[in-house]
Symmetry: D2
Subunit: 336 residues, 4 copies
C-alpha cells in the first residue's frame, strides 16, 4: 500500500500517518519526492483495509498494491488448474470443451431432443436451466426440480455430463443430486453466501462474470469459493454492460488472455448471452477459441422460434452442427 500526501502536507501530518500505519502493525517507509511525500506500507500479508488512513488530514490518495484475491492468482500458484468432469478435462493444455443445450428445460421431450442433437454434433457437456432468473416476475421461471430430472435423464441417455444453474442455497441439494457442474449466474456472482456454500462442496462450479464486474471482482468472487476448499472453479465470460445497446451485452474477449495471465483457473466464453443475437453467435464463438478460451457455452434449441426463453440467441440443429464442424477445423488448426 502506498499513501500519497498532499503537496502541502505538513511534517506533522506525515508523522500522524506514519503513526496510524504503525498502529495497524505495519511498517511505514516515507519516500520524499520533489513535489510531495509518499509513504510506503510494508509488512502486510495481503490487502489492507485503509479506513483508518484514507481520510487523515494531508492524505491525498491511498493506492493498493495487493489484490483482494490470492488463492486464485497465478502469481502465487503458477500451475494451471485443470477441472475434470467425468473424464472431460477443462483447462490449459486441453482442447476447448463445448457445453451446449437449451436456455430452459421445457419438457422431457424437448430436453431429450436437445441432448441428442448436441451430442450428434459433437458437444461434450449438456446444459439446461431448471431455475431461471428473469428480469420481470411475469416471465417463465423454469420447471424446477422436475426440470432437473429431465436434464439428468437426457444427459444419461446420451452419456454426457450436465451443467445447470443454482440460484439459492436451498436448491443445492437437488441440483447436486442431478447435475455434474453447478452454474452460478451473472446476477449471483456476488451472492457471497451462495459462493461460500458451493465452496464447501465437491462439485465443479461454473462461475459467470457479473454484468458489471471488473476482472478483480470476478477473481475475488472465485476466491470466495476456493477459500472454502473447492478448487474446481471454471470462470465464464458472458458479456459486460456498456453504453452500447445494439448487442445484449458487450463480449469482452480480451478478458480471456488477461484471466489466464492473472489466474490459474480455466476460463470459457458464452457467446449466446454476450451477443443475444443468433447470427453473431458462430462468429464470436470462433473468435473466442482463437482468443484462447478453454471452452464455450452455447445455447441450442431444437425449435428456437418456439423456445420459452432466449430463443432469439439460440442456434437450431443445423446451425449448431455447422458451427461444430467449423470449430472442429479451427481447433485442429490451433494445434489440439
Amino acid at each position: 500500500m502506498l499513501i500519497v500526501m498532499e503537496h502541502n502536507a505538513t511534517p506533522e501530518q506525515v508523522d500522524a500517518v506514519e503513526a496510524a500505519v504503525e498502529a495497524l502493525g505495519f511498517r511505514a517507509e516515507p519516500i520524499p519526492g520533489s513535489l510531495r511525500t509518499a509513504i510506503g506500507v510494508l509488512g502486510n500479508q495481503g490487502y489492507v483495509d485503509d479506513t483508518a488512513i484514507r481520510e487523515l488530514p494531508g492524505v491525498r490518495e491511498v493506492i493498493h498494491v495487493s489484490k483482494p484475491y490470492k488463492l486464485v492468482s497465478r502469481d502465487f500458484h503458477p500451475e494451471a488448474t485443470v477441472v475434470e468432469v467425468r473424464g472431460i478435462a477443462i483447462g490449459e493444455g486441453y482442447p476447448p470443451v463445448i457445453m451446449a443445450g437449451p436456455c430452459s428445460i421445457e419438457s422431457e421431450a424437448q430436453m431429450l431432443a436437445s441432448a441428442r442433437l448436441v451430442k450428434a454434433a459433437g458437444a461434450h457437456i449438456l446444459r439446461g436451466g431448471a431455475f431461471k432468473p428473469r428480469t420481470g416476475p411475469h416471465s417463465f421461471q423454469g420447471l424446477g426440480v422436475e426440470g432437473l430430472k429431465y436434464l439428468r435423464q437426457a444427459g444419461d441417455a446420451v452419456d454426457m455430463p450436465v451443467v445447470t444453474e443454482v440460484m439459492r442455497i436451498e436448491q443445492l441439494e437437488p441440483v447436486c443430486r442431478y447435475a455434474d457442474i453447478l452454474q452460478i449466474g451473472a446476477r449471483n456472482m456476488q451472492n457471497f453466501d451462495l459462493l461460500k456454500e458451493v465452496g464447501k462442496l465437491d462439485h465443479p462450479v461454473l462461475l459467470k462474470r457479473g454484468m458489471s464486474a471488473t476482472i478483480e471482482e470476478f477473481l475475488a468472487a472465485a476466491e470466495y469459493i476456493v477459500a472454502e476448499g473447492n478448487r474446481r472453479v471454471i470462470l465464464c465470460e458472458r458479456g459486460i454492460r456498456t453504453f452500447e445497446r445494439a448487442t445484449r451485452n458487450t463480449l469482452d474477449l480480451s478478458v480471456v488472455p488477461l484471466i489466464q495471465q492473472f489466474s490459474h483457473l480455466p476460463i470459457i466464453v458464452d457467446p449466446s448471452h454476450a451477443t443475444g443475437k443468433r447470427p453473431l453467435v458462430p462468429v464470436m464463438a470462433k473468435a473466442a477459441l482463437v482468443a484462447g478460451a478453454n471452452g464455450l457455452m452455447i445455447e441450442v434449441h431444437p425449435d428456437p422460434d418456439k423456445a420459452l426463453c432466449d430463443g432469439a440467441q439460440s442456434l437450431n440443429e443445423e446451425g449448431f452442427a455447422r458451427l461444430m464442424q467449423e470449430m472442429g477445423g479451427l481447433i485442429k488448426y490451433l494445434g489440439y
Copy 2:
C-alpha cells in the same frame, strides 16, 4: 410491441410475421411507410416475449412498448405509496426520513453509541449491518445474529425503528424477528428468489438499485416483491457503476424525479455508498433532498477511523450533527 421490417422485406416475409403474431393470440396491424413496413402488435396485456418473432426473415428490429412491470407503475396506479414504519411515514407529501448508523455492527457498545448519537442529531431510523457482503472473502463479514440483537437493543434504547440487510433466505427469520425494515442490497437486486420471499412477508423492504441496473430493471425487481403481495417497498439509489473512478460510484440523482414519474413507490438516496468519500456526503445529501428524495440513508460511526468497514465514507458525531442541522433548515425551506 412494434415490429420493424427491413427496407427490402418481401410481402411474404411480412405475411409470415403477421401470422406469427396471430399465432401468439394477438392482432397484427401493418403500418406501411415510405421506406419500410412496420407491424403493430395489438391486444397484449403487458410485456410480450418476442422470441418467436425477433429472428424471422425480414425482421429488422422489435421495439417493446410495454414495460416488464405494471404493479409498481404510476401509469396504472397513480396514487403514491406511503410506507409507514412504527409511526414514521416515508413517501410523497411527507418530510424526508433520515436513516443513519454504522455500516457494520461491531459491538454492543459501538451500536449503542451510534444509536445515541444519530438519535440526538435527529435521525428517524437506525441502520446497521449484521451480514456484510464484501468483495473479497478475507474481509470482515459481520457479526450475524449476535449483531442483530445489538441493533435491536440499541434501537429500543433510543426508541427508533431499525433497518438491516438480509442476504439470504435463511436469514429472513432472524432478521424479521429483530428488524423493522428489511434491506436488499445492490448485489442482490436481481436475486429473484430472495425478492419473492420478502414479497410474501409483512415487513417493509428497502430495495437498493443494482450497480448496473437500469431504471427499468430496478422497477422490474420491485415488481417481483409487489407481485407476491408486499406493497411496502422503498427504493434506494446508491450510485451506479461508470467509467469514472474518482468516486466509488456515480450518484445518479436524476433517477429520483424519474422514478417518481414512473412509479408510485417512495425513493430515498444513499450518498455514503454512492460517493465513498466523507467530504462529499453532506453536499450530495442536501442535493438529494432538493432533487426530491423521500429520505436518505447515511453512514455514521462514533469513531470512523477505527470502523471495521467503510469508515472512509462515514461521518462522525460532529459531522452528522452539523449535516442534520443544515438539512433541517433546507427541509423547512423546501416547505415541509
Copy 3:
C-alpha cells in the same frame, strides 16, 4: 511513480528496473515488502512517461502518483480562479451565474425574443448556438456567422454578455468578434488543437466535459488551455454516458464538489443536455446549486415545440420564469 514487481521477480529484474529508472534521470528507491518488492521513483517534476518501464520483465504494474495536470490543480494553486465577464464574476464566493437561451439561433426575431425573456426572468448571460454539432449530417446545422450577428444584437439589446460554441479554429475570428465567452462543446473536449488556440486568446472559455471523460481527462483538457496562457477557463458538467438510457446522459453532480477540491477553476452545470427532458431540468438545476455549482447553463426557447434543435429539453417563458424565481429563493437561502 511506483513500480510494483511480480511476487517472484528476481533480484536481477529488480536491478534492471532500477537501472531503467535512473536512465530516465530519476532516483529509484526499492521498498521491499513481505510479498513483493515495489520501487519508488523520486525526483520527477510531474507525470512520467512509463513506456521504458511498463513492460520490463518482472514488472507487474506501474502506478502514477502525479496527474497529467498541474496548472489547474488546487494542490499547486490553492487560490480560486474567478472569471469576470463584463462585470459578472463566476467562481467561488460569488452567487451562481445563470446562462440561458436557445440551443440554436434560428432567426433575428427568435433570438431577440429569447434574450428578452431570459433577461426579464433575471438571467445573467445569454447563450445561443450558431454552429451546431449534430449526430447526423441530415439535421439542421446552425445559421453560422449570420447567427452570431443575431446573438450579438440580441445581447446588446438587453445588455447581456453572450456565449456561443466554436467548433473549429477557422471560426475563432468571427466568434471572438461577436461573443464574450467561447464555448468548447463536449465532442471537442479533446480537440487539442482547438484547445491550444483558445489558450492563446483573451476570451474566457467555457469547456464542457466530454461525454466519457474522467475528471482527470477533463482537467488535463483545461490544462491545455491554461498552459498556453489563458487562465479564464470555466468548466461545465453536462452529463456523462452510461448504460442508463432513460435520460439522455447521466448528470454527475458529485463532480462539482470534487472539481472544487482538485482544481481552482469555476464549474457550472448544464441540466438541459444532461437530462434531455424538460420536466427534469428545474429539479436538477436546483440540485446543482445545492451541490455548489458556480453557475448554470439552461436551454430556453420562446416556443420549444417549434425549436429546430433540442426543443424537448428547453423551458418556455413561463417555465423559466418560475424556475428563476425558485432558484432566487434557494440562492438566498444558500447565503449569497
Copy 4:
C-alpha cells in the same frame, strides 16, 4: 416513428398529437391497444426530429424507427464498398490488410527502420503519427510536417502506401500531399467540420470509433463523410470505454459482424490501442481476423522501450514478424 401515449391519455391529447404530426407534413396512424394507444407516423423519408411531439401532454415515449444514416447503410446499398489504395483492396471478399508502424514518427532513421521491418514481415500499409493527440499538454505532441516527410520517404523506400492522422482542417493540405490515407482519430469522430472537409476530398479516410460512440453514432459520423461525396471510408474499431480498467479500453469485436450487417463499408480493428498491452495484441489481432475484420492496424516500433509514445503496446521486430507468420497461416485457413 412511433408515439406511445400514456395509459390514461385523453382522446383530446391523442388528437393533439395527431395534429402535430400532420403539421410536420406526415400522416398519423393511431394504433389503439388494450392498455394504451400508440400513433404511427407515416410518410417520412428518414429520421424525424421529434421536438414538436416528445413533450406534448399525454405522450409517454417517442420511438424512432429510422436511423440517422442512410448512405452508409447496407439496407439501402447492399453491395459492399471496397476501398482501393495504390493497388491494395480493403473490404469484403479480399484478404485482410495489415497496416503497421510506430505510434509516433520520431526521426527519419526510426521511421525508415520501422518501414523496413514491417515490410519485411509482410505488412501492406505503413502507419506513423506526425500530429499526436495526447491527454495532457506536457507530453510529446509529434513532429508535424517534418514527420510527414519522413513517413513519405520511408513509405517510398519500401514501396508501401502510408496512413497518418489528421487532427485539424489546416493540416489537410500537407497531410494529403504526403499521405495516401487520412486517419480521423477517436477523439475527432464527432468533429463534424473535419468530417465534412475530408468528405470533399478524394483520399480514402480511416475513421476510428469514438471511445464512447454507439454503432449508430459511428455510422452517422461516416455518413457525414459520404454525404459530401467521398465514399472511400474505412471504419476502425479501437476499443470502447467501460468500467473495466485492466485494459486501456474494451475491444468490442462483435462490432465487426454487426457493422458488416448494417453497413457496406469495410471495418478493420486496432488491437494495440484497444488493449494497451503488448502481450494481448497478437491474440486479439488473430481473434479480430476470425471475427471477420477486413484489416488490422498494429503498432510496431524498432525499439519499443525507447518509444516516445505508447511503447508499452507496441510490438518489436521479432514480435511482429512472429505475429505476421501466425496470421498468415490463419488467413490461409480462413480461405483467402
